[in-house]
Amino acid sequence: MEKPLTGRMRAGGQPVSIREYERADGYQGLRKALAMSPAEVIEEVRDSGLRGRGGAGFGTGLKWSLVPAGAPKPRYLVCNADEMEPGTFKDRLLMEADPHQLLEGMAIASYAIGAEISYIFLRAEYTLAAARLEAALHEARQARCLGEDILGSGFNLEIHLHTSAGRYICGEETALLNALEGKRANPRAKPPFPPVVGLWGKPTIVNNVETLCCVPHIVRNGSGWFRRLSRSQDSGTKLFGASGKVKRPGLWELPMGTPIREIVEEHAGGMREGVRLRGLLPGGASTDFLVEQHLDVPMDFAGVQAAGSRLGTGTMIILDDRTCPVGMTLNLEHFFAQESCGWCTPCWSGLSWTEQILAALERGEGQPGDLEKLEWQTRFLAPGNTFCALAPGAAEPLQSALRYFREDFEAHIREKACPYRH
């Protein structure tokens, strides 16, 4: 099984140096891209069927092509490395273990869209990744894989590492751009979209770390190769993860479309002794719960959606039968309520109320009608009702928890206590 994204990584956790990286065909994708026209690079990536790995799954080649022809320069590429989705740690691995892969992807993407300045917007807590990226940036500049006249092609690119001050909303691409500009991290109005009006008002492409890491391989091996990596309609491999009370929590690069059961039972080793799987969030905290009946669902965009959730980041959080689903939902909603940027009413107000109702349930102070209020909140926070996707994302685990674990919620009210606390 091919593992382009993780295949080069060293056992033992040390990062791949530029020498090792180049020995393993590193920066060959960039060399090849620089010999192509930017339009050809975009075409190749579009043909590969690569979809954004940050959660929304937007076609990467299509996104790049949205920079209007003849748009003024400067243009910017921004790597969204603000990985703050609870349960998600895939980008961290990519940056810590093989930073040059990301830099090469960014160089190719910048070349494709005509950007000469690029930013990595890195989650504040990722200090190890920051140090390794800085070191890799230095190496790449020394090797003329970055900087002026890259590899003698005449293409210039400077990549700046920006470490975030730490807010979940910065993962929203337009809030990220505001934060990068030194403004409040509130999402922007769309339209205009960043490919037209982005960072400092200039055309800007924002891509996730994992997405960019796929790019060198696509360019080097061709779009057809990338498509064939997958076990489903969605191309490529994907980093899938599992956390919770499984035997071997972790992260694995697997073909798109790998069934959930295979990830949980083979790669994560199944549930620990004494606990049973009750549900899982397939793609991070802002996706709907799936339950046992969904274990054969393939982990790809369409498959998970058909099951009523989202692929999201592909890193699942697993709920077991000894953990209170209400408590888990409270934990998630506490996070979302705390991370609301405070811009639109349904989000800052609705999530705060939601959190407080869940906290009351957990304290044994739930009241009849509370579940109806929570259900109402999930409708209230529906997509389109809010300014950005944060609150609708927050509603997803709540609405599915209310559906699948209804009896637990009711028991909290009935018993005036959390039944899991004994």
């Binding site: 807010r167 909303i169 409040r184 922007r188 109005a189 769309k190 339209p191 205009p192 037209v196 009006v197 400092w200 008002g201 309520a337 705390q338 991370e339 609301s340 940027c341 405070g342 811009w343 639109c344 009413t345 349904p346 800052w348 107000s349 609705g350 999530l351 705060s352 109320w353 407080q356 009351a360 009241q367 009608g369 209020k373 109402w376 209230f380 389109g384 009702n385 809010t386 300014f387």
Partner: protein, 893 residues
């Protein structure tokens, strides 16, 4: 024009507007918070959700925010849709989770947009049972009180303060449901337009702190359509009164002038009306003794003076109405009517009017829409502040025009700002000192008046492509001049702004030369001149001579009695001249409303009504005559200045004394005698105007036991005062709907108790106001200004001397507003500004024009070398005619 369908009915709509504005303008009650007509849409509060349908076959539809959706042709929406209504109720419920529900003790109660929207949305039962979040409030200065617990996070305040008004010491802090709107620490808000927060805030987070000191609910206040008396811009205001005390001023929307916003000097200047220094009773000076007089006694004393007087010289006033000045002019005769300001100030004002007869004076709305501006020699923020706020919008024009190219509608404020970024269009500020517009200026030039004039002439010469500059013009000045010329020429709507702030004819002429040169290049630019006082323009249309000539008239024996109208002459000319003038007159009759040095020297003092207690007309900087109406009838001996002067005419045996029963009689006579002023009659409907036989009520509909307040004295409701001068009534009874704009005392609609009611009147107020609201007395005949005048000599510093320049202060330089404690508390103490050579705070002696001031030095590094500055008009400092050379020495002891 587009057709939109609301509840399946077709309506005409402006496709350039959003659906919220369209719905409100059509009279639909669609609740909203974060949208503001002057600041556009941001889609934050989500209150204006409606259901939008793809076409008539779409029955499902989807929720959209009306404020973020264009009124495009064929748009099909439902406000009443149950899902939309439920969502809007949810929003209100969400906003009210943490709101303290303290309406009974909140100053906003009764005119609160949040109250109105809550009622409109139908949210009444509270389901939230947890603790409310709380905040610590801040001290923000004398103008605004802060109660953050009421906040609903609509972001209007910060968008106004920073985005619209350019303030920096206010922001939104923190996130989620704890966003805090305030300063980084307690302190007086720095921005000159902070008072607008009280109206911008949809609830009671920011409330008028001066109103709080004598609080009364809106429904108990009596209003009148009025004009701000604090400078020459002529902002429309609604002063509010109860029990004979003026309580506050709120903005009165005028689409061409102030729009939605006032400056803080204007808003808080009203406090002088309540001052303890008001002259409330007539008095005469008998030897060293001051004798109070009844009105009748005063009138007979007046008759006596006039009967035995060989002639009357009238001293008019730039702060008195056109009608009062006219009545005085009639009494004295045109030859003995003097402007009440010094010859230089009068000449400058008359010159500006003359130039505006050639080059058009823009309205504030036009100023906002200009896209390249040269400000020549005027610190607009300090002299005509509301113009500065308009200029701040003009710098947004060029960057915002890029939004149109990106097909983003201008109302989409967030998107437009992303496109515009922090870029600013060209604004050039040439001034004596640093100004509060420098932060948005493309370039600033600080120089002495002569050099400012030379810059203007160099710009004009560049525009005419004549580059034969004087040899001593510094290269950097000619470079700046050609840069300014290029920017003005390259703009779609260039503008030139100047004024009398430098007290320099050369500067004013240079500004006109720039406008003239632009016109010559086929790019006619309006020319805005500031006017220092509410009726400087009106007075200057009427008077041809100033105080120096008045002294001549007294000396020559042509007149013995001096009648001084609403004027403290010690603010207008040096004391030696004023002492001389007052000393030469046998009788000095002062008609004024505040104790001042001039009134103290008068032999007869007649208590005059302020703007709030009288009707009249002011002419603003653009030549627009606007009527202000009595807010309340003054009690006791106080009457309008024109009525005192009418009584003088009667005492002098003049026919007008018998026939002038109402203001309209004065206006008619004024138009007959001075045809140029005849259009002033059209400034507002006459007193006989009625709507369906009814007067316009000054009071909102009663919601309290207001009329029972005197029930302990008498069961009978007292008869309200009669008003022979206007179509308004001192009552809540009368025409119940919205009157024409010029007669609109307050903004109110059923269900819309706050100033936001205006937005439901938008179409009427914005597009075609029914009935006149002000009329221009002079207009530009053609766009060609007089040719450039001679180049003044360049400024040369002198050894051991400083050219002392007048420095203006929004809080401090204006006479009346300084009688109000809030504004007075923010005025600087007397000082002398120096560039260097002295320590900050060091006591120095300034000797200029024979006067000696002992003052602390303030270091102002932006002053041009060789100059120093003295504050203009500060109480406690004698008038001195500047600019002039003086010496500054270390004070002894």
């Amino acid at each position: 024009m587009a057709t939109v369908y609301i509840e399946n009915r077709a309506y005409d709509a402006d496709p350039g507007e959003n659906l919220l504005k369209t719905c409100l303008g059509l009279g639909f009650d669609l609740p909203y918070f974060c949208w503001h007509p002057a600041m556009g849409s941001i889609g934050a509060c989500r209150q204006c959700a409606v259901k939008q349908f793809k076409d008539e076959n779409d029955t499902k539809g989807r929720l959209v925010m009306a404020c973020m959706t264009p009124s495009s042709d064929g748009a099909r929406i439902s406000i009443a849709d149950p899902e939309a209504a439920e969502f809007r109720a949810g929003i209100i419920e969400g906003l009210m989770l943490n709101h303290p529900h303290d309406c009974p003790v909140c100053d906003e109660g009764g005119e609160c947009h949040l109250q109105d929207m809550t009622l409109m949305t139908g949210h009444s039962y509270r389901r939230y049972r947890f603790h409310k979040r709380t905040f610590r409030n801040q001290y923000l200065g004398p103008f605004l009180a802060h109660e953050m617990n009421r906040c609903i996070q609509c972001y209007r305040c910060v968008r106004f303060y920073r985005g619209y008004a350019g303030g920096r010491d206010f922001n939104s802090f923190s996130i989620r449901n704890t966003v805090y709107f305030g300063r980084h620490e307690d302190g007086v808000l720095e921005n000159e337009f902070s008072g607008n927060l009280a109206e911008v805030c949809p609830t009671g987070v920011f409330v008028d702190r001066t109103l709080a000191q004598h609080y009364t609910r809106k429904w108990d206040q009596q209003f009148a359509p009025s004009i701000c008396a604090a400078c020459g811009v002529g902002c429309n205001i609604s002063p509010a009164e109860r029990y004979g005390m003026l309580r506050r001023i709120v903005n009165r929307y005028h689409p061409e002038i102030n729009g939605h916003f006032l400056c803080d000097r204007g808003r808080y200047s009203y406090e002088f009306v309540n001052s303890e220094k008001r002259i409330r009773q007539a008095r005469m000076q008998s030897g060293a003794e001051s004798l109070p007089l009844s009105k009748d006694e005063a009138l007979s004393r007046l008759a006596e003076i006039l009967r035995h007087s060989r002639g009357v010289a009238g001293i008019g006033s730039p702060r008195a109405s056109l009608e009062a000045n006219f009545a005085l002019r009639l009494l004295s005769g045109p030859d003995r009517f003097f402007a009440g300001i010094n010859e230089n100030d009068l000449a400058l004002a008359r010159l500006m009017i003359e130039l505006n007869r050639t080059v058009r004076a823009p309205s504030l709305r036009e100023i906002e829409s200009c896209d390249a501006v040269l400000v020549l020699g005027e610190d607009v923020t300090q002299t005509n502040p509301r113009i500065a706020l308009a200029l701040r919008q003009s710098v947004e024009q060029q960057p915002r025009s890029r939004a149109a190219a990106a097909r983003i509608p201008l109302w989409n404020d967030l998107a437009v700002r992303e496109i515009a970024q922090d870029q600013k269009g060209p604004l050039f500020v040439a001034a004596l000192n640093a100004t509060r517009l420098d932060d948005v200026a493309a370039a600033t030039y600080r120089a002495a008046p002569a050099d400012i004039a030379r810059l203007g002439l160099a710009v004009a010469a560049s525009l005419r492509q004549e580059f034969a500059f004087p040899a001593d013009l510094a290269p950097k000045v000619s470079e700046l001049a050609s840069r300014i010329a290029d920017a003005l020429l390259g703009a779609a709507r260039p503008l030139v702004v100047s004024g009398p702030g430098c007290r320099s004819e050369a500067v004013i002429r240079a500004a006109a030369a720039v406008a003239g040169a632009l016109a010559g290049r086929g790019k006619p630019a309006p020319l805005a001149f500031t006017m220092p006082e509410a009726n400087t323009a009106g007075l200057s249309l009427m008077a041809t001579a100033g105080l120096e000539t008045a002294l001549e008239a007294l000396r020559s024996g042509g007149a013995e009695t001096l009648v001084i109208l609403e004027n403290d002459l010690y603010r207008r000319a040096e004391s030696s001249l004023v002492d001389d003038l007052l000393g030469k007159a046998r009788h000095v009759v002062a008609v004024d409303h505040l104790e001042n040095r001039t009134a103290a020297r008068a032999s007869l003092v007649l208590p005059a009504a302020t703007f709030a207690e009288s009707d009249g007309t002011f002419v603003n900087f653009e030549g627009r005559a606007q009527r202000f109406f009595q807010v309340f009838a003054p009690d006791g001996g106080i009457q309008e200045s024109w009525r005192w002067l009418r009584d003088c005419l009667r005492a002098a045996g003049r026919e007008e004394g018998e026939t002038w029963h109402s203001l309209d009689h004065v206006i008619a006579a004024q138009g007959r005698q001075m045809p140029e002023l005849a259009p002033a009659a059209q400034a507002a409907p006459p007193a006989s105007f009625r709507i369906v036989d009814e007067r316009v009520p000054r009071m909102p509909h009663r919601s309290s036991g207001r009329t029972a307040v005197l029930a302990n004295v008498t069961m009978h409701e007292p008869k309200p005062p009669e008003d022979p001068d206007s179509p308004l009534a001192f009552s809540m009874e009368g025409y119940p709907l919205t009157p024409p704009q010029a007669l609109r005392p307050f903004t109110w609609l059923p269900g819309w108790n706050s100033v936001q009611a205006l937005n439901r009147l938008r179409n009427e107020a914005g597009a075609a106001p029914p009935g006149p609201s002000g009329v221009r007395l002079y207009e530009a005949r053609n766009g060609l200004a007089p040719a450039a005048s001679n180049w003044p000599e360049a400024f040369r510093p002198r050894e051991g001397e400083w050219l002392l320049l007048p420095l203006h202060h929004i809080f401090g330089s204006e006479e009346l507003s300084m009688y109000g404690p809030a504004i007075a508390s923010l005025a600087p103490r007397p000082y002398v500004a120096v560039r260097d050579g002295f320590e900050e705070g060091q006591m120095v002696e300034v000797s200029v024009r024979g006067l000696i001031f002992r003052l602390p030095a303030r270091i102002m590094a932006a002053l041009p070398a060789g100059t120093a500055g003295l504050p203009s008009g500060l109480p406690g400092m004698d008038y001195v005619r500047l600019p002039d050379w003086g010496r500054i020495t270390e004070a002894a002891g």
